[in-house]
């Protein structure tokens, strides 16, 4: 099943007839081989048909324009992508969840792991719709009972993410949800946590990607699906 990863900046719209569509990356959901390992004949077979660029899903541009950018938060130089305005737009929020649910329903995913705190907003509705468990991945000392922890690097220093022991079983298929991927540090820690207990992380899913921070590359061979890419 092919799906669309759009590279649409928040200010682009598809309204005008002279609109130049942004570059699309069609990413096969079941892609397991990185392109360099494909044989020549495989690479033809595996190439998605691109005789004409697919239209971006019409819901995406409204989602993108519902996200508010706050300059210089939490510190100077950072253009903060604020999804709270998306949550105030009932149709755009509904569409956001629907886009993820349409992608993941029927794919035998039993776990949706959400990263504190904004992953808690998007993850549970997706989990409910696809019949999966929701597993919160939290900052230290928030989860009661026995936890496992994974440390990860920040710009200065380190942080930790925790998950309950026993929340997930080895062999389960999982998504990881967060509102945004920047450097990918937190998502990588979440992947490691789940893999340590034998879970198969099928894909990471975010509303927004900041491609300049190269989070996608940091995830390596773990697929990433985003709705909006913000440069």
């Amino acid at each position: 099943m092919l799906s669309l990863t759009t590279l649409c900046s928040p200010n682009e719209t598809a309204a005008s007839s002279s609109y130049q569509p942004p570059v699309f990356r069609l990413r096969s959901y079941n892609q397991t081989l990185p392109p360099t390992l494909c044989s020549a004949s495989d690479s033809v077979a595996n190439q998605p048909k691109m005789s004409s660029p697919d239209e971006q899903d019409p819901r995406i541009s409204k989602i993108s324009s519902a996200i508010r950018v706050i300059p210089n938060f939490p510190k100077p130089g950072i253009m903060f992508q604020d999804i709270t305005t998306l949550l105030l737009d009932t149709k755009a929020f509904r569409d956001t969840i629907d886009l993820f649910v349409e992608r993941y329903r029927g794919k035998d995913i039993s776990v949706v792991a959400g990263i504190e705190a904004r992953g808690f907003i998007f993850g549970p509705p997706i989990a409910l719709a696809i019949g999966a468990k929701f597993v919160p991945m939290r900052k230290p000392n928030k989860l009661p009972g026995e936890v496992i922890s994974e440390e990860y690097s920040l710009e200065y220093g380190t942080d930790k993410i925790e998950m309950h022991v026993g929340a997930v079983q080895a062999g389960e298929r999982s998504l990881i949800i967060d509102d945004l991927i920047a450097t990918g540090g937190t998502l990588c820690a979440a992947i490691r946590l789940l893999e340590r207990v034998g879970v198969h992380v099928v894909e990471c899913a975010c509303v927004i990607e900041l491609p300049e921070l190269k989070g996608r590359e940091r995830l390596g061979d773990k697929p990433l699906f985003v709705l909006v890419s913000s440069t």
Binding site: T84, L128, G131, P136
Partner: protein
Amino acid sequence: MFAAENGLKGDPRLQAISDAIRVVPHFPKQGIMFQDITTLLLDHKAFKHTIDIFVDRYRDMDISVIAGVEARGFMFGPSIALAIGAKFVPLRKPKKLPGEVISEAYELEYGTDCLEMHVGAVPPGERVIVIDDLVATGGTLSAAIRLLERVGAQVVECACVIGLPEVKGQRRLNGKPLYILVEPREIDGCC
């Protein structure tokens, strides 16, 4: 008021929800029997029942905003909001929300804490439900009510999955109705 006394007496979903909640003794400190809803989130059916009960209650009450208290209110609020066509507004700890916020302080056992909401998130006159996983003293929910009333919103009700004994028998908080699904679980034979 508890759901069982308010139209859902004998509803098997309430037992399923209660059974899915885990008690963790002495967290975050000695003497506290922590009501852990993460096990409810692992039980898809029971989690769905939880959301369905709130949705059934609020869908015809002309509610335009669900306000969820960080962080466990975020796990329940958005699904309810989506189902009833309401906005979701996060009420957060200090300095998490970007842009212009208003703040409301509230008392803890030792010291104070603060809840923040975005300026402009809730226009005056909108009908709001405040949601959190659990109500104990009601301090956090009271702060949430004050925040919303300061911007002219109408808090219709506060909704929680679990209500601690301090609120048993209390039908109102700050003058606002309180709707609770279950009482806290106890552990047999525990200290």
